[in-house]
Amino acid sequence: MQVIFRLILPLQTQFDLIISIDLTPMIRQCVIIFGCLAIGEFIASVTGIKLPASIIGMLLLTLLLKVGWVKVGWVKGISDFLVKNLPLFFVPPGVAIMLYLDVIKANFWSIVVASVVSTVLVLSLTGWTHQWLRKSSYFSGKTNDQTTA
């Protein structure tokens, strides 16, 4: 009998631990992430601002983390899961491309040329601006930021 108890009890405590440690924070994580999203949605609908609700939610979450009302540990689990698997969530909108194949065919070259040229410009101009501003010591801050590379 005692042997059985010894076998069962640790299991039971383990089970309790799993519930008390793992589950509550999971719910808290969901409350924080979806809460930020909901507030973002609310702000977007009330102010009519042309900013996606999810972006407002993201900035709000960053702000809450910055002022310390939310600790990174509270949202780490769910945010790691969501960020690491981001590509999965846009597979469905990607599939919708099958509805627009004729539109793409009709404008194929303007899409390709515009995107390629624009990407080359962004790469170069962002790089040049950054290089140039870093060189002029006035802008690059107090420390020699070679270390922050």
């Binding site: 709000l60 979450l61 597979v91 491309i97 950054h130």
Partner: protein
């Protein structure tokens, strides 16, 4: 059989499977061209047309997965918070170069597409093409573009940037490694970032700053830049 293939449960499982297959294929081959999303999308489209499942039925199931795009964008707040200190250290070089990249990216793609005779909704869909797909899709929705077109252009731009980005920067003499990493994130978002990550984690960290900051700028500025362009060149 067809009603099973059209059920939400099957479709959700199939999207997971297709994405998993895409990731495995990239892991094995290590080719940037074989982007997991691209593979997953192709597998699903081939499957849907082979079994004559119409898009509407597919969407019933797939929107359950697509829904998580929004909370996933919110979750990007955590990496943004973790990079805040780094951004602060060289706030002006980073913020100004991101602003330049964002504005140049939108204006150039819009004007070139316009000059080549693309219709309005295509031009709008191309405007957010440099930023990470979830943000680009959301922006495309707010400016009345075609989100699926935006998504695919963004992915292709990312692959293009990841493959040729460092070569292009060699030609155009962007020499500073910090600037290179940053530009990769600005122009080629997550795909460019993972390419930078292969070179070194430091490049990767700079790229992810570029990805997030340009994402925010693009989300905020795109509607207004388009309005301004509309004044001089009615789209």
């Amino acid at each position: 059989m067809k009603s099973f293939l059209q059920s939400e449960v099957f479709i959700v499982a199939f999207v997971f499977l297709a994405y998993f297959a895409g990731r495995q294929i990239q892991k094995r081959t290590k080719l940037i061209l074989l982007n997991p999303i691209l593979i997953a999308v192709i597998i699903i489209i081939v499957f849907l047309s082979a079994f004559k499942i119409d898009y509407k039925a597919f969407h019933e199931g797939s929107k359950l997965i697509e829904f998580f795009l929004k909370p996933a964008v919110v979750a990007l707040g955590v990496p943004l918070y973790q990079q805040l200190e780094k951004i602060k250290k060289q706030a002006i070089p980073i913020l100004v170069s991101q602003l330049v990249g964002c504005v140049v990216g939108i204006i150039s793609v819009v004007l070139i597409a316009k000059a080549m005779g693309a219709p309005k909704e295509i031009i709008y869909s191309l405007a957010p093409k440099s930023v990470t797909t979830p943000i680009a899709i959301e922006v495309s929705k707010t400016i009345n573009g075609i989100p699926p077109l935006t998504a695919s252009v963004v992915i292709v731009v990312g692959i293009f940037g990841a493959i040729f980005g460092y070569t292009i920067m060699k030609w155009t003499r962007v020499k500073n490694p910090v600037a290179q990493g940053l530009s990769m994130g600005t122009a080629a978002h997550a795909v460019g970032t993972s390419r930078s990550m292969e070179i070194s984690p430091k490049f990767g960290a700079m790229s992810s700053i570029g990805l997030i900051v340009n994402g925010i700028f693009t989300a905020i500025l795109t509607p207004y830049i388009l309005e301004l362009i509309n004044i001089w060149f009615p789209l």
